[in-house]
Amino acid sequence: MRVNFTVNGRPQEADDVWEGESLLYVLRERLGLPGSKNACEQGECGSCTVRLDGVPVCSCLVAAGQVEGREVVTVEGLADYAKQRAEHGGCASGACGTSLQDAQQWAAKGQDSQTGEGTELSPIQQAFIDAGAVQCGFCTPGLLVAADEMLERNPNPTDADIREALSGNLCRCTGYEKIMDAVRLAAARQSEGV
């Protein structure tokens, strides 16, 4: 079958999709977006977390056909998504999500850098690097998408709020302490307008 949907603000068309394929498989193997990760492919680890019409989901549990006509944001589009949100007044109130209309108005910029140097990052991405929250990095994309979504809803989370929001994302390397630091850091920078 053919699936048409929007990924990181760009219309995408995937052909010859077998009906059993997941959104994760289509992103990784058909659209060249392997940022969303395949750690368990059974909805337990959160490494494949993407936003589907703004809602964080495990893309391994979404059948590709279910995304027909819908909006997907992956880690590859997170920086531009966050930038767009900031330019549109962000979510300082803590009350909003991202409206579908807003989501449709932006497009991720391409990244060609081999080293990643000079890449513009979202606050949560920068905070993960600065706080030492990345080791092997396999959990990182899913955690970033989940943490970014939480900070959109709740810009001043307590530690218990952070733990609750990220409890669907497994990490095996860090013991989560540096991830906590990263989210606190992103929240602090966000509230300071840094």
Binding site: W18, K37, G116, Q125, I129, Y176, K178
Partner: protein, 794 residues
């Protein structure tokens, strides 16, 4: 130049920004947070096929027949291979003993053993084709423990063993046995006022790295193959892969892909040979990616163990003797079992002074899943048992458990049970003091102005208690881990370092085969190069087999050994750069001949700080390159009868204090805090050091309260191969982990550093167990502890 193994001091100033001791950030950080970092499962190639492995559905059976015809006939299937299709006489592989079949031949020895492989144009087609392969098994009785392995009529798991351990093991179903006898334990026992015996069980833990086993094999035009792979040791893989393919090692090119964690689980081969075989058979690139279910069958686990201990002590609190027997279940294939036995035995009494010991460790061959390397490697199981014993002895003596440990703590100069003197700092008592001195988390920490926050309580959002029945407990533990490969292994590493001017700036390039698995070796290599060569710009070349071996990313050894190799090669490059400088500019300034010269801030300077030349002018179009091997001090094998020998390179110590709260009615445990104190020698990158300690601590927490691969003792089949049923700690299960880092230099090691990755995994588990015992008063002689063990319903 320092000789191999000689102490290598800091020979350069540390004035160059981004050098050792700073918390520089990961060079791969940006790629990892943008999703651009290419892990082994992200590889893609035009026209590539997908490989799939068919695995045995039973644990022990003769293979009567394999019929691949239906699978081969499926549209989209390019190849189906079984044992009969292997191209050479080399059909087995293995880290030390080549006992593992590439594909099963006549017999399967554990649940999930590879039987056949398929290549197809879609992963689902490959899966369906594999399912159409008909394998007829004739089942055999399963061997699952010591009793069944050594029974008079026991089937031999491996007949006709010819490995170098068969001569000294008491039974062919024992992989390796290491006794250690020192002093006279029976005689010393007579001096004991208190004798405590205990029997302990350690469950089978999985590394549960998040990046599944995966890789891409691309056939080369010269008949060779290029493998992009996630592994812990490229050259060890290469040595095992090439003979099976019938290719010289020069025709098997290996490049490290992004590695999604390892923790020991990538020391053995998984899909490497299978992908290469299918690629060479079909002439097309072949990608294999395990799913999580398959991953549980695709790598070795931590050895489950039975441990029998006897400790004696005088009433003033001095240990008189220790006897112990450690039985490790190695499963169907040897993997790293012999080395795990060496560690378990030599570290079996912990970081304590005991002159009279009688120790035995063995690893069994059984039909359980193969076990091998996992973070802590034999020392973890022992630490769980000896620390439980230390608490029991202290209780019998009426002594504070920390005080009792400190009274018996080893220090620099202590002689190990192996007769090896501990010849660098061993601050065991001090680590215990520090961890005990840390502030305690407040009582009833779940209370907030709006009542109980259930997220802070056992049971969490299940809302099972608001504090009723909740009891706090505190427990302590300390452990000892060896660093580096032991027992006489030639544990070297290689580094190629080049220095040249690029765009008007001096740049160093560091090329090693070190597997970066997340630990931050790439960060540290760049820091070492900056410190040693005084340049700001360092390029880390991708790891591959175009440079000599770096050894394994395991045994807490890479910062020590490959870090040491990078340091050594940088020093050699520096000497050459200075030679060029002397040749070109020596006549202009006498200091070139007389002063101690350093490279700092892109310049050649005297140790007095006088600038002699810019590196840009010294190099001026020339490049300097050195590839050199580096070795730490040699070690010796342990004597096979007495266990005596200077077997270890270095020791690493960590202590933990666990604070838990237990809902005693439901048997639910919440770990509130896991404080750690560790001596790291020298923190080359403090941020990464803390990250390693916290990560290792959390894996120890996991096996204390939740992680266990459950194997059915009747069938030897794995019952919980998924993240639904094999639980690892989430962010809700993991407490705050305050870390106190001590830096006492080891004069034998580069920069005085100490390998740090594993020690925190040792003491974390027994500290949590001690805290749960403290809260509940229960004996708890097994780990992990589950609710039924706390409620008497087990």
């Amino acid at each position: 130049m320092p000789a191999n193994g000689a102490p290598t001091k800091i020979t350069q100033g540390s004035k160059t920004k981004g050098g050792i001791g700073e918390s520089t950030l990961r060079p791969d950080g940006t790629l990892k947070v943008t999703g651009e970092f290419a892990y082994s499962s992200d590889m893609w190639h035009e026209d590539m096929l997908w490989g799939q492995i068919l695995r045995s559905t039973v644990a022990h059976a003769e293979i009567v027949s394999i019929d691949t015809s239906e699978a081969l006939a499926m549209p989209g299937v390019y190849a189906v291979m079984t044992y009969d299709d292997l191209p050479t006489d080399v059909k087995n592989y293995g880290l030390e003993i080549q006992d593992t079949p590439v594909l099963a031949h006549g017999k399967v020895r554990h649940h999930g053993e590879p039987v056949a492989i398929v290549a197809a144009d879609h992963p689902e087609t490959a899966r369906r084709a594999a399912a159409k392969i008909k394998v007829e098994y004739r089942e055999l009785p399963v061997i699952t423990d010591e009793a069944s392995a050594l029974a008079p009529d026991a089937i031999l798991i491996h007949e006709n063993r010819d490995d170098h351990h068969i001569g000294h093991v008491p039974h062919p179903n024992i992989v390796h046995r290491q006794p250690i006898i020192r002093g006279n334990a029976d005689e010393a026992a007579k001096k004991a006022d208190v004798v405590v015996k205990g029997e302990y069980t350690f469950g089978m833990q999985d590394q549960a790295f998040l990046g599944p086993e995966s890789g891409l094999a691309v056939p080369d035009e010269d008949g060779g193959v290029h493998l992009y792979i996630a592994t812990q040791w490229l050259h060890s893989d290469l040595r095992q892969i090439a003979p099976v393919l019938g290719l010289p090692e020069s025709k098997v090119r290996m490049t490290l892909s992004g590695v999604g964690g390892a923790f020991g689980g990538r020391e053995d081969l998984s899909m490497q040979i299978h992908a290469c075989l299918l690629a060479l058979r079909t002439g097309k690139p072949v990608k294999i990616v395990y799913n999580r279910f398959e991953s549980f069958f695709g790598h070795v686990h931590r050895h489950p163990a039975k441990l029998f201990y006897e400790h004696g002590a005088t009433k003033d609190g001095k240990l008189t003797h220790v006897k112990c027997r450690i039985v490790l279940d190695g499963g169907a294939y040897a993997s790293a079992s012999p080395a795990v036995v060496g560690n378990a035995s030599s570290l079996s009494i912990g970081p304590y002074v005991v002159d009279d010991v009688d120790i035995e460790a063995i690893a069994l061959y059984t039909n359980n899943p193969p076990c091998g390397a996992m973070r802590g490697f034999g020392a973890v199981q022992a630490c769980f048992a000896y620390e439980a014993q230390m608490d029991k002895v202290a209780r019998q003596l009426g002594m504070d458990p920390v005080r009792f440990r400190q009274l018996n703590a080893m220090e620099q100069g202590t002689i190990m049970p192996t007769g090896q003197p501990v010849d660098s700092p061993a601050p065991v008592a001090e680590l215990l003091r520090r961890v005990k001195a840390m502030p305690m988390p407040p009582e009833r920490q779940w209370e907030s102005s709006e009542g109980a926050d259930v997220r802070q309580l056992p049971g969490g959002l299940s809302n099972t208690t608001h504090g009723e029945g909740v009891v706090r407990g505190v427990g302590y533990a300390v452990g000892i881990k060896n660093v580096g490969f032991s027992e006489g292994f030639d544990d070297y590493s290689t580094a190629k370092v080049r220095m040249e001017v690029i765009n008007g700036e001096p740049v160093a390039t560091v090329h090693t085969a070190m597997a970066e698995v997340g630990q931050g070796g790439v960060t540290v290599h760049a820091q070492i190069a900056r410190t040693e060569l005084g340049v700001a710009q360092v390029t880390i070349h991708p790891a591959d087999t175009q440079v000599g071996s770096a050894g394994s990313t395991s045994a807490s050894r890479q910062t020590y050994v490959t870090g040491g190799a990078v340091k050594n090669s940088c020093e050699l490059v520096r000497e050459k750069v200075l030679e060029i400088g002397r040749r070109k500019f020596g006549s202009y300034h006498p200091a070139w001949a007389t002063a101690e010269l350093l490279l700092e801030g892109g310049k050649v300077v005297t140790d007095g700080g006088e600038v002699l030349a810019d590196l840009v002018d010294v190099l001026d179009g020339e490049s300097v390159e050195v590839e050199a091997e580096w070795r730490h001090r040699p070690t010796e094998a342990f004597d096979l009868r007495t266990g005596q020998g200077n077997g270890h390179v270095q020791y690493s110590f960590a202590a933990h204090r666990a604070v838990v709260e237990v809902d005693t009615e439901l048997g639910l445990v919440k770990v509130i805090e896991l404080a750690c104190a560790q001596d790291v020698g020298k923190a080359l990158n403090p941020l990464s050091v803390i990250g390693q300690i916290q990560g290792g601590t959390t894996q120890g927490l996991g096996v204390a309260v939740m992680e266990e691969i459950v194997v059915d003792p009747k069938t030897a089949k794995v019952k919980n191969p998924s993240f639904t049923d094999y639980l690892i700690p989430t962010i809700l299960d993991t407490p705050t982990i305050p870390v106190d880092v001590l830096e006492l230099a080891d004069d034998h090691a580069p920069y005085g550093l100490r390998g740090i990755g594993e020690a925190p995994t040792l003491s974390s588990t027994p500290a949590v167990l001690a805290a749960i015992r403290n809260a509940t008063g229960l004996e708890l002689n097994r780990t992990p502890v589950r609710p039924e063990h706390l409620t008497g319903t087990a």
